[in-house]
């Protein structure tokens, strides 16, 4: 089950905790992986850890030209892109009334628009192959909202609507488009929270703990697999029961 031998996966935001875990998990099932991100050092460390079949593909997702080139570079490096994981995300939190246009736009550009452009870029190859997996990493806050994250929640909710629309269009071609919506996961992003903030968050999580990045990786393996071929337009919530939606 869940064998990805012969598949090639492009993972954005692979320098972060969740992205690296997704890349590791896909690689462990036999996929070649293209590791994209802005910080080259962690990408190279991960590629060295994984070994042959891991390719470092740095890309600044706020640069439209670089985004356009990324699927081509990934195809050159790996032969194809069968699995695209749009995982990269940034935050520019601010109270709504104080949020600048720049804060809004930066988050929408990277978290939503880049995902659209990359999906568009890999579709031609997937259509010809009559097989493809697009996995968009959203967030529980895309469904629930979160104070201070109007931009982030908008982008993440936007990914869900985009995924469903695209899922309709390409389902007959063997291409699935799904979302993974993590809750609170132990990463550099949540390390920054104070103990008080963490206690408040944990009180809302029935599982009584934060999630681990490898639990998101496992969800990605499932959605990327042959076995998940009948799952499309879905959002897989991985949040310890924090929001049962």
């Amino acid at each position: 089950m869940f064998d990805l031998t012969g598949k090639s996966a492009l993972v954005t935001g692979a320098s972060g905790g969740i992205g690296a875990s997704i890349a590791r998990a896909l690689f462990s099932r036999g996929a070649k992986v293209g590791l994209s991100g802005t910080r080259i050092e962690p990408l190279e460390e991960l590629a060295a850890e994984l070994g042959e079949g891991a390719h470092v593909l740095p890309c600044n997702l706020s640069d439209p030209d670089a985004v356009k080139e990324l699927p081509k570079r990934a195809t050159e490096a790996m032969g194809s892109v069968d699995i695209l994981v749009n995982n990269a995300g940034i935050t520019r939190d601010n109270l709504f009334m104080r949020m600048s246009d720049e804060e809004w736009q930066a988050v929408l550009d990277v978290n939503l628009t880049a995902a659209m452009r990359l999906s568009r870029g890999v579709l031609r190859g997937m259509m010809k192959a009559r097989w493809g997996r697009i996995i968009n990493v959203t967030s529980v806050v895309g469904a629930t909202g979160n104070p201070g994250q109007g931009n982030y929640a908008a982008a993440k909710a936007g990914l869900v609507g985009m995924s469903k629309s695209l899922a309709y269009e390409v389902a007959s071609r063997g291409i699935t488009v799904n979302c993974i919506a993590p809750g609170f996961i132990e990463t550099a992003m949540t390390d920054k929270l104070t103990d008080e903030q963490k206690a408040r968050i944990l009180a809302q999580i029935p599982a009584g703990r934060m999630g681990r990045p490898d639990e998101i990786g496992a969800a990605a393996v499932y959605l990327a697999s042959e076995e998940a071929g009948y799952v499309t337009g879905a959002t897989l919530h991985v949040n310890g029961g924090m929001a049962m939606i």
């Binding site: 031609r124 259509m127 010809k128 269009e169 390409v170 007959s172 071609r173």
Partner: protein, 78 residues
């Protein structure tokens, strides 16, 4: 011209799974040959590859029938 028409017809027959004699100049991909809108996008992609040309989106929209496709490709490759 006939060579181009034959190559286009072959792509259409293969892609849409229709009888060769149905693929006449006036045959509309969508209305007569059973294509959906995504099929027309794929046909255009296949034409681009077969003939080594680029068909911009606004031009692709004007290609509704087999005859349209042959005419466009003939002009684009001449």
């Amino acid at each position: 011209m006939s060579d181009i028409a034959d190559r286009v017809r072959k792509i259409v027959v293969e892609h849409l799974g229709v009888e060769e004699d149905k693929v006449v100049d006036s045959a509309s991909f969508i209305d007569d040959l059973g294509a959906d809108s995504l099929d027309t996008v794929e046909l255009v992609m296949a034409f681009e590859e077969e003939f080594g040309i680029e068909i911009p989106d606004d031009a692709a929209e004007t290609i509704q029938t087999f005859g349209d496709a042959v005419k466009f490709i003939t002009e684009a490759t001449s």
